[in-house]
Structures are given as C-alpha cells and as structure tokens.
Amino acid sequence: MQKKKLTATVKSQQKIAEGIYDLRLSTELAAEASVGQFICLYPKDKSTLLPRPISICEVDKDKETLRLVYRVAGKGTAEFSGLKEGETVEILGNLGNGFPLEKGAGKRVFIMGGGIGIPPMLELSKRLSAEKQIIVGYRDRDTFLKEELEQNGSVYVATEDGSVGSRGNVMDAIRENGLCADVIYACGPMPMLRAIKGYAQEKGIPAYISLEEHMACGVGACLGCVVKTKNIDSHSHVNNARICTDGPVFEAGEVDI
C-alpha cells in the first residue's frame, strides 16, 4: 500500500483528559491502516514545518475514519488541539509496520500501555483474538481510554500516585496481580519498555514494543529516527534500524534500548 500525503477532514475533537485530545479524522487512509501504524500531521503554522508522528488509536474502515489520541507536547500539537469539526489538516500515512497480531493469536497476552503510549493499544485490544490482559499505567486518576479498553479484555491499572489500581507502574501491576503471559505487546515511555524487555527476557517470552524517536521525514529517507539493533539490518548495513519504516514495532530482543 502506497504512502500518501493528503487532506483529512476533522469529524470531531474533544479533550478527554488534562492535555490529552481525541481527534477523529475522515480520510481514505483508514481503509488500509493496520494496528500499531502511525500517521504524520502537518501544522499549518509555517514556522513549524516538520510533520508530527501520532499513533493510530482506532480505525473505522466503514466510515473511513482514523481516531488519534495525543498529548499536547509543543507548538504543533497545540495547534492540532484547536482543530474543529469540518476543518482540514494535511496528513501523511500510513506509516510503519504495526503490531504482528498473529504472534499473540489464541495465546495469553499482555497488552501494555504507559501514558500516551496507551492509545494504539485500544485498536490492538479490539483486533487481537486472545486471552487479553490489558495493563495500563497513568500518572493519576485521569485514566483516559480505560472504559473502552475494558470492553476488550481484563484491565489492570497502575498509577504513579496510587489513586487508581496499583501504586507505581505497569510492572508493579503485573506483580501485584500475579499475572503471566506468553506474548507481550507494549507501547510507552522508554523506561517502561526497558523494564518490559528485561521481564520478557527473564521469562523467555517475546515482547513486541512500539518505539518513538524524533523524526523529520517519516518515510525512511532522513535517517533521523534510528534505533540500535542487535543485527546489522539490510537497509543501513550498520546496526541502525529506522523506527519510522522498519518499526515502530520491534521484537524487544532485536533492539538495544
């Protein structure tokens, strides 16, 4: 499927937690989007030129809609948060490889999300047919997307301030609830992904983790968003995979994080 830059129309947008926005875009890209892929949004303000990579939270192929849930982190995302129904935004997609659903099909899986890494896990939890244990970590009681995740599996929550679920992070929630799995899928901040990689190695199970990095092009040309890899990859011929194109999802053992 070909990558395209095109104009999407805003179907709706709402703030769902402090600094977190839920944006639904009407776009033909929905027809081919897969779980764990991302798209880039271009700010209109020409002082901010680079496209902003944002993970796909939900795909509605029938209504040709992509749902993005993102955190306002700077000028570009602040501009997006002001988009209103009927307005347009330039987007680039679909980008990246996505989560390998077949690896977890029919098995006991952990679907783990931390903070703004939670949104892509919603579509994954909908699409995956497996024994799903969904473990999500938040800062506080602002537990966005929790109710929707609960429709797709058993949800375990950890909060940094202990206000909901286990106090601490997603690893604390696993221990406290005595959970185990055969396959892990995860997206979240780097310390969380490092802990998951260590846990998966200890248990001898595969972990498919979605990484993020500053990127300029989103299509594999600029070589900005690389991650060190265990093996020399066929594109770079050095130990550097491109997160935008070879990822963002990697088996944890393949990457040096």
């Binding site: 990558k3 030129l49 092009c217």
Partner: protein, 301 residues
C-alpha cells in the same frame, strides 16, 4: 519552452535536483514523486565503508527549519553500487553521487569505485558539520580545499562538484579555490552549524550538541552566498538552502545558480521536487521565457 541546463557537459532535463541526505537514493520518495521528472537525484553521502552515524536524537525542529546531526550514516560504497545505482538507473534522471570520507584516501577509494558505474556526476562533501573527522575539515580552509579537490580530480572519471560550507568567512575565496583546483562545478550551501537547547530538560536537543540548520529560515543567507560564489567563478554553481517552492528556486537561478537542489522541503512536503519543476515552467510561461538559461544570473541591480 526549454528547461534543459548543462553542467560540466551533463545535460539535465530541468534544473531541479534533490539535496544530498534528504532524499536517500530516491526509493523512499519514489512513492510520492515521479523520479523521471527530476533533473537529477543527488544521493545521500556514501563513504568507502559503512558509517553508523551519530547517536539520537539526530533531528530537532527550529523556527522556520530544522537541525540535523545524522553524522553521514551510510551503508558503504559496495552496497551502494550493488543496490542504489541499479535502482536509480531505471529512471530518466541524472545520478549524482555524494561522496564523503574521513581522509583523502577514503574519498579517492569511493571516487575510483564509481568510475565505471555509469553515474553522471560526483558531488564531494567537504562541508558536513556533523562528523569529527574529514568532511568539513577539508572545506573551511582554501589550501585544504584546493588540495583535496585537485587530488580527487586526478582520480575521478565523472565531473566533480565540490559542495561548499557556509560556515566560512569568505565564500568567494572558497569558490575560487575549488575552481583553481579543477572542480567542474560547485554546490552550496550545505547546512549552517546551529544549536538548540531544551529549556525544560536543560539538555541539548541533539545528542551531538550541534547540528546543521536547514529549511526556509536559511534561504536569504544561501541566496547571498550563491550570488557571491557565482560572481567569483566561471564554473557552474548549484544553489540550495531552504528552497521550498518554485519562487525560491527561481530566486537562486536569478542569483546565478545553473541548477538548484531541494532539501529539507522534501520532509515538509514529499511532493516538493515535482511541484517545483512544474512551478518553474509556469513562471516561464507567465513571463514568456523561452529558455530557462535566460534566468541564470539575470538579477539586475
């Protein structure tokens, strides 16, 4: 209407090329633009052996542009010859290979290996600000630039374009040094060395601390330098630095560039190169210009 330009005996169907490092070897952007429509594809810099490049973060946005410190990551010339050149040869576009190295011998090794590959021109990177050895070390002093240019010319089969750095005191004397050493053309500007600090984390935005600045914010500096360089030498000048649309490209032609390269704009708009080709044609039609060469250096005081 004639859009052809000739640089060192190589005729380009139009004056629009890609800037090295922003377009890979064309594969990634081939999904967005018809490579057959471009004057030339200038590849990402290639060295004699694979280079891993710098740690991340490698890119950061700045007002009206960006900083990069990729560090010339590349797969090495052997893989490049086997994979990238055959890919580009499928298209009706000229192939210009950007060459980098840590020592003069590294550059010569690459230049020699490219001798019988059928690529059209070589662009020698003596201006990357993001690597500690080689590259810019050859591009900031006239004697070093003269020396590497003349040595490369002894070994090069194809015409040699020396890519100059804007991080110098006097661009005219650098241009003259390259010309005196036998360069067939010069291209400029490479990126300007910049820095960004994240005030919330109190860290450098780039792992390399400094990076090369590109994007529309640098365009006036680039136009000025292209004008100065073109006024100083007789060899063709390839202009670049912040070109985002046809108007920008035409400004460089008027300043004295025989061709232009589109760089960071590819990231902001993957269709930029083809749109610029069409935009130049529209401009020529609007002003009844028969031959694009009429625009080269045509600015009046």
């Amino acid at each position: 209407m004639n859009t052809k330009v000739t640089i060192a005996g190589v005729t380009l169907q139009n004056p629009v090329m890609t800037a090295s490092g922003t377009f890979g070897s064309g594969m990634e952007y081939g999904e967005f633009v018809d490579l057959n429509k471009l004057g030339a594809v200038v590849t990402k810099g290639v060295a004699n052996v694979p280079w891993a490049g710098n740690p991340t973060p490698r890119v950061a946005e700045v007002y009206g542009g960006m900083l990069n410190a990729i560090g010339l990551q590349n797969p090495g010339i052997d893989v490049f010859i086997e994979r990238d050149i055959p890919f580009l040869k499928q298209y009706q576009t000229k192939i210009i290979v950007n060459v980098c190295g840590k020592t003069v011998a590294d550059y010569i090794e690459v230049v020699e290996k490219l001798g019988d590959t059928g690529v059209d021109m070589l662009e020698i990177n003596v201006s990357c600000p993001n690597v500690k050895e080689g590259a810019i070390a050859f591009g900031q002093k006239t004697d070093a630039l003269f020396d590497i240019t003349s040595q490369i010319k002894k070994h090069a089969v194809q015409p040699v374009i020396m890519k100059l750095s804007p991080n110098v005191t006097d661009i005219s004397e650098m241009a003259r040094a390259a010309e005196a050493a036998g360069a067939d053309a010069i291209s400029l500007i490479n990126t300007l060395t910049g820095m960004k600090i994240d005030i919330h984390k109190r860290t450098f935005a780039l792992a390399n601390k400094t990076g090369g600045m590109s994007g529309p914010a640098i365009k006036p500096i680039a136009v000025r330098m292209v004008y100065q360089a073109a006024s100083a030498v007789k060899i063709p000048v390839i202009g670049m630095g912040g070109i985002c649309n046809a108007e920008d490209a035409i400004e460089f032609l008027l300043a004295g560039a025989s061709a232009v390269s589109v760089g960071a704009a590819n990231f902001f708009n993957p269709y930029a190169t083809e749109e610029i080709v069409r935009g130049i044609e529209a401009y020529m039609e609007q002003y009844k210009i028969e031959d694009v060469k009429e625009l080269i250096g045509a600015v009046q005081s």
